[in-house]
C-alpha cells in the first residue's frame, strides 16, 4: 500500500484527528512563540483542508467511504453494530468542504484581526476544537457520536462568542448561546435514547434499516419531532432564532464566520436524520414534514428581513440577514421533501422533477450563504478593526480610506441579494423556479425577501461607506494584508461560483442532492460489506 492510499484510507479519521491534535498542541507552541502559534494554526487547518479535498475526489469518483475506529472492520452481530463508524458520502463531503473553507478563512483572518488581544492560545485552541466538532458532525455515521460533536461545537463556540469578556453584551450572548445549545443537545440526546431503546443501535445506517423493518412506531414519531425541534433551534430557524443575531453579532468576526459553519452543520444533521435515518418510513401516510419545513422557512425568511430593517448595529443586522438566508435552505429542502415524503403513489420524484431541483438549489444555497454572509461578516469585522465602531449611525464615508473593503462589501451585498453574476443568483433562481411549481406564494415570499435584503444592505453601504468624510475617521487606514487576503479568497470563490454555477452544480451539488434523496447508498455497506 503506497502512502497516498494509506492516507486516503485514514482520511476520515485524520480530518478530525489533526485539528484535535493541533488544538492541544497550541498552548505548548504558544509558549515558544506567539507568531509561530498563529502560523501553526493556519498550517493545521491547511493540512485538514488537504485531507477533505483528497476525500472529496475519492468519494465523487467511487461512492461513500466508511471508516471504523479502533479496528479494520466493524463487527456486525445479529442486530447490533459494534464500534464507531464514520460514513462519508457526497452530502457529508459537500458540507465538510464548506466547513473547511470557512475555517481556513477564519484562521487566516484571525492572524491580524485578533493580534492585539490577550489569551490567544485559548482562542486558537477553541477555534480548532470548533473546527473539529463541526467536521465531526458532518462526517460521523453514529448517532451518539453526532451528539458528542454537537456538544464539542456548542461549548467551543459559546466560549468564543463570549471571547471579548470585557463587553457585557458578548458575555450575555455567550450565555444565551450555551443555554439554547444545551437544551437543544439534551433534546437530541433524548431522541437518540428513544431510538437506541427500540433498535439497540446507534449506527445511523443500522437505525434506518431497523426503522424500515419495524415501520413507524409512535416512539419514532416522538424522536423525529425532538430531532427536528432541537436541530432547527440549533440551525437558527424561526421562531427559535433569537440566539442567532446575538451570538453572530457579539462574537469576533472570524468566529461569526465559523458560527455559520456550525449552524449549517446542525441543519445538515436535520436533513440527514429526516432523509437518511427516517428515509425508509418518511413517505408513510399522514406525515407532512416537508410542509413544516416549508412553513418554518417562510417564517424565518420574513422575520429575518423584517428584523434586519430596523437594526442599527452593523453585525447584528448581518446576523438577521443570516437568519433570512437560512430560511431559503429550509424552504427549498422542505419543498423537495413534500414530494419525497408523499404517500400518493402518483406524485414521485419522476412525476415532479422540480423536487430534485429544489433540493439542489437548497444545498447550493448552503455553500452560497456561507460565502456571502461570511464575506459580509468579515467586512463588518474589518470596519470594526479600523474604527472600533459597529453602530451604523456613527459610521460613514469609509470608502475614501478603505477602498478594497468597500469593493468586497459591494460583492457580498450583490451576492447575498441574489443579483447576477454572483453565486447567490444561481442558487436563488433554482429556488424560485422550483418552489413556484409547488405553490406560487412560496417563490413570491422568497423574491420579496431578496428584494428587502438588497434594500437593507444598500442602506448599510450608504451609511457605512458612502457619504461625506467624517472628521473622526480621517486617520482610518485600510486593514492589514492578511485580512484582505481572507476576504479576497471568499470574494474570488463567490465570483467563480457566480460565473460557472453549472460546473459546481453538476460536480458537487447534484451528487450531494442525490445522496440526500437516495439513502440506499448510505445503507449499502450494511448489506454489501466493505
Amino acid at each position: 500500500m503506497n502512502i497516498v492510499d494509506m492516507l486516503l484510507t485514514h482520511a476520515p479519521a485524520l480530518t478530525i484527528a489533526i485539528p484535535l491534535l493541533g488544538a492541544f498542541l497550541t498552548p505548548l507552541i504558544s509558549r515558544v512563540s506567539e507568531k509561530g502559534r498563529n502560523i501553526f494554526a493556519i498550517i493545521i487547518v491547511g493540512i485538514t483542508a488537504l485531507f477533505v479535498f483528497l476525500m472529496a475526489s475519492e468519494i465523487l469518483a467511487n461512492g461513500p467511504m466508511t471508516y471504523v475506529f479502533g479496528s479494520t472492520a466493524a463487527t456486525v452481530q445479529q442486530s447490533t453494530v459494534i464500534r464507531i463508524l464514520f460514513e462519508v458520502d457526497a452530502l457529508s463531503i459537500f458540507m465538510a468542504i464548506i466547513g473547511i473553507i470557512l475555517s481556513f478563512v477564519a484562521v487566516v483572518y484571525s492572524y491580524a484581526f485578533m493580534e492585539k488581544n490577550t489569551g490567544l492560545d485559548k482562542y486558537y485552541t477553541l477555534l480548532l476544537l470548533m473546527t473539529t466538532g463541526m467536521l465531526g458532525m458532518m462526517l460521523t455515521g453514529d448517532m451518539f457520536n453526532f451528539f458528542v460533536f454537537l456538544e464539542i461545537t456548542s461549548i467551543a463556540s459559546a466560549a468564543l462568542v463570549a471571547f471579548w469578556t470585557n463587553k457585557a453584551k458578548a458575555v450575555e450572548a455567550g450565555f444565551k448561546y450555551i443555554v439554547i445549545s444545551t437544551i437543544g443537545a439534551l433534546f437530541v440526546l433524548f431522541a437518540i435514547a428513544l431510538l437506541y431503546g427500540q433498535y439497540d443501535a446507534l449506527n445511523m445506517a443500522k437505525i434506518a434499516q431497523s426503522l424500515g423493518i419495524s415501520g413507524f412506531t409512535f416512539i419514532d414519531k416522538i424522536a423525529l419531532v425532538l430531532f427536528i425541534a432541537a436541530l432547527a433551534m440549533k440551525g437558527g430557524l424561526a421562531p427559535m432564532h433569537m440566539w442567532l443575531p446575538d451570538a453572530y453579532g457579539q462574537a469576533p468576526a472570524s468566529i461569526s464566520l465559523l458560527l455559520i459553519g456550525a449552524t449549517q452543520a446542525s441543519l445538515y444533521g436535520l436533513f440527514r436524520i429526516v432523509f437518511t435515518v427516517y428515509g425508509e418510513v418518511i413517505s408513510l401516510p399522514a406525515i407532512s414534514i416537508g410542509w413544516i419545513l416549508v412553513l418554518l422557512g417562510l417564517i424565518t425568511m420574513l422575520i429575518g428581513v423584517i428584523m434586519a430593517i430596523i437594526q442599527t448595529d452593523f453585525k447584528r443586522l448581518i446576523g438577521y440577514g443570516a437568519v433570512a438566508e437560512l430560511g431559503y435552505m429550509a424552504l427549498a429542502v422542505g419543498t423537495g421533501l413534500t414530494i419525497v415524503a408523499n404517500a400518493d403513489p402518483n406524485i414521485t420524484l419522476q412525476t415532479a422533477p422540480f423536487a430534485m431541483k429544489a433540493i439542489t438549489g437548497g444545498l447550493f444555497h448552503v455553500i452560497n450563504d456561507a460565502l456571502d454572509i461570511g464575506l459580509l461578516f468579515l467586512v463588518a469585522g474589518a470596519v470594526y478593526y479600523a474604527t472600533k465602531e459597529t453602530s451604523l449611525n456613527k459610521l460613514g464615508g469609509l470608502a475614501r480610506n478603505m477602498k478594497y473593503t468597500t469593493i468586497f462589501f459591494i460583492i457580498g451585498l450583490l451576492a447575498v441579494s441574489g443579483l447576477p453574476p454572483f453565486n447567490g443568483f444561481a442558487s436563488k433562481l433554482l429556488i424560485y423556479e422550483s418552489t413556484y411549481q409547488l405553490n406560487p406564494i412560496l417563490s413570491i415570499v422568497a423574491i420579496l425577501s431578496s428584494i428587502l435584503l438588497l434594500a437593507i444592505f444598500v442602506k448599510v453601504l450608504h451609511s457605512v461607506f458612502l457619504g461625506p468624510a467624517l472628521p473622526k475617521y480621517e486617520t482610518v487606514r485600510e486593514v492589514p494584508k492578511s485580512m484582505l487576503l481572507a476576504m479576497a479568497v471568499i470574494a474570488g470563490i463567490i465570483i467563480v461560483f457566480g460565473l460557472f454555477p453549472q460546473v459546481i452544480v453538476t460536480n458537487l451539488v447534484e451528487p450531494a442532492a442525490n445522496a440526500l434523496v437516495n439513502n440506499s447508498g448510505y445503507l449499502q455497506w450494511l448489506t454489501g460489506g466493505f
Binding site: 485524520l14 484527528a17 498542541l25 498552548p27
Partner: protein
C-alpha cells in the same frame, strides 16, 4: 481567600493524601471497576480544592502557577490523542488497541471472573491521560475562580 483555622488546616492535611490515593485508585482501575479517568481526576481535583479552601489561595498560588496547570492539561490531552495516533501507526486504525494480547504492559488477556489490573491494552493508559487532564483542568478552574473572588474582596 484567606486560610482557615488551624483545626481545618490539620484535618485538610490528613484528608488530602487519602482523597488523592482514592482518586488515583479510581483512575488506575478505570478499566476494571466503575469510574475511570474523569471520575478519578475529579476526586483528586476535589482534594486539591480542599487544600485551596483550607490554606487560602495565596498559599496555593505560591506553590503552583495556573499556566503550569494548563500545560499539564494540554499534556494529558496530547497523551490521549497521541495514543490514538499510535493505534493508527501500529494497529492499522485510529484508536486501535495495539497493546492488547502482547507481552507489554497491560497486554494480558483478562480471565473471566478475575480482575487483573495488567489487562486492557491502551485503555488504562488513556485513562491516565484523561485523569491528568481532568486533575489539571478542574484544579485550574477552581484556582482561577478563587483568585477572581479574591480580587473582588480586596
Amino acid at each position: 481567600m484567606k486560610g482557615m483555622s488551624t483545626i481545618v488546616k490539620t484535618i485538610a492535611n490528613i484528608g488530602f493524601p487519602i482523597i488523592t490515593i482514592y482518586g488515583l485508585y479510581v483512575i488506575a482501575h478505570g478499566h476494571l471497576t466503575p469510574g475511570g479517568g474523569f471520575q478519578g481526576g475529579a476526586i483528586v481535583a476535589s482534594g486539591l480544592a480542599l487544600l485551596a479552601v483550607a490554606h487560602g489561595t495565596s498559599w496555593v498560588e505560591s506553590k503552583v502557577k495556573e499556566h503550569d496547570l494548563s500545560m499539564l492539561e494540554s499534556l494529558g490531552a496530547l497523551g490521549f490523542i497521541g495514543l490514538a495516533f499510535l493505534g493508527l501507526l501500529m494497529g492499522g486504525a485510529f484508536f486501535s488497541n495495539f497493546l492488547v494480547d502482547t507481552s507489554m504492559l497491560f497486554g494480558a488477556i483478562p480471565v473471566d471472573g478475575a480482575a487483573n489490573i495488567n489487562t486492557g491494552g491502551t485503555l488504562p493508559l488513556m485513562n491516565f491521560a484523561v485523569g491528568l487532564k481532568v486533575i489539571a483542568g478542574l484544579f485550574a478552574i477552581v484556582l482561577v475562580m478563587a483568585i477572581a473572588t479574591n480580587k473582588e474582596e480586596d
